[in-house]
Point group: C2
Chain length 233, copies 2
DNA sequence: CAGCCTCAGTGATTGAGATCACACAGCAGT
DNA sequence: ACTGCTGTGTGATCTCAATCACTGAGGCTG
């Protein structure tokens, strides 16, 4: 019973976060239309190239957004967590999904059908604006991604960049120098566009240089500035 | 006199193209608010990192959209031509411009202030939708860009991809196997993320393999299929 | 416990492309 | 003609990371 209550509290908190920038009435309009489901790890919500069916909103869990080349190589665009909608651009434009969304852990996902989304957008200007701002956010994020992949051809710079990004996300945590490492070396490689082996070697190198320490899945970055100095170099 | 008339005709045609998906009344609402100016080659309309001032719409000419790394290297996202709005995402979200826009030839550009754009979006649902679809189009385009840069680490594959893209844009031309080469090798390198010298060498190689012929700024691609075979390879 | 996964660490080799360093062609201006 | 300037073509060298090929470490299941 206790856990049940806790779950409800969490759900509401997440809902607030998801639609925090919308009037409550409008948010509940979305809530009514959306269908929420629980997925296991590794579930594919939608795949690159599919015709859009609607928008998925992460309520709980983490989802990996990636694109892949014909040669099978994968690039992870970003990891999406609670409160973020996915596939908005595709749903609005009718163009095919630009990426593949796959759950990284058991996740609770809300789904809003394309036609319902468009209708809601027409009815409520605020929703249209909300959608637009989320797309432009995704766009900006993708531009940063592309920049980080190009402006640094040294793999160590890319890794340093990624880690600094982790620190930024962690700014509010109790221990801001520590991040939970929820990705395999392979996945890290897919985020920065290098091979798994290179990531292994870079980790070893960073440890030797005392830039990072690792115990289990906890990554400690004692000296952020030192890491940042790798970036401009 | 004759040339003057021709110019007017072109302008109208362009305007039609720009707002072809909007009701005429709404399009003219935009026209009224927008301020059209002529820029020389090399003018910077807005730069990466600047606070957004509004949307720029290309009426005539071509504009280069690029992002650049701290080390000075540049990546050209795309070349924008008549009818396309630029900086929409930034104007809508209030986030800084994600790229730099620079004219590649003398160009006529309309400018719509951010506040006017937002007001128009609120007043006319169609404009909001139009904006949203343009952003999602930019997003999709950027995703393709990122894919093409990653899924091929051989430079020749990237160049082949780029050229096939040129052919696609040229589908309607009188001679569909011929494209006008309006970019320097340096710029081509910036589009596919390689050095100028590599582009030179690749061109030489392609000519030797009879994949392309070049006289002046005309590029003839006699055998599209052969070029495409480089891509999956 | 043995067998079988997935991850991680590390050496050896290799190759593609960056970089440096030229030479040259075309074109504008004084 | 002389001087710049910008864009191009090409050789020589070098460096970084991909790739191949292992060895282990830990976790799960039968």
């Amino acid at each position: 019973m206790a856990t049940h209550i806790v779950n409800n509290v969490q759900k509401n908190a997440v809902a607030d976060k998801a639609f925090s920038d919308l009037p409550a009435a409008v948010a509940s309009a979305i809530e009514q239309e959306a269908l929420t489901t629980t997925y296991p790890t590794g579930a594919v919500l939608f795949a690159e190239g599919q015709a859009p069916r609607g928008v998925f909103i992460v309520r709980r869990g983490r989802v990996k957004l990636s694109i892949c080349g014909s040669d099978g190589r994968t690039l992870i665009l970003r990891i999406v967590d609670s409160g973020c909608p996915m596939g908005v651009a595709a749903a609005v434009s009718g163009r095919q999904y630009e990426a593949t969304a796959e759950t990284q852990e058991p996740s609770e996902i809300s789904f809003l059908r394309q036609c319902d989304l468009l209708r809601l957008m027409r009815q409520h200007g605020e929703i249209a604006l909300w959608v637009t701002q989320h797309i432009s956010q995704d766009y900006a994020c993708t531009c940063r991604e592309i920049r980080d992949l190009i402006l640094s051809d040294s793999a160590s710079e890319k890794l340093a960049r990624l880690m600094v990004g982790w620190l930024d996300q962690n700014a509010t945590a109790t221990n801001p120098t520590q991040v939970k490492l929820a990705l395999t070396h392979e996945e890290i490689g897919q985020m920065i566009g290098t091979s798994r082996e290179t990531v292994s070697r870079l980790f070893a190198g960073f440890k030797k240089q005392r830039l990072i320490q690792q115990n289990g899945c906890n990554l400690v970055i004692p000296n952020r500035v030192a890491l940042e100095s790798l970036i401009t170099a």
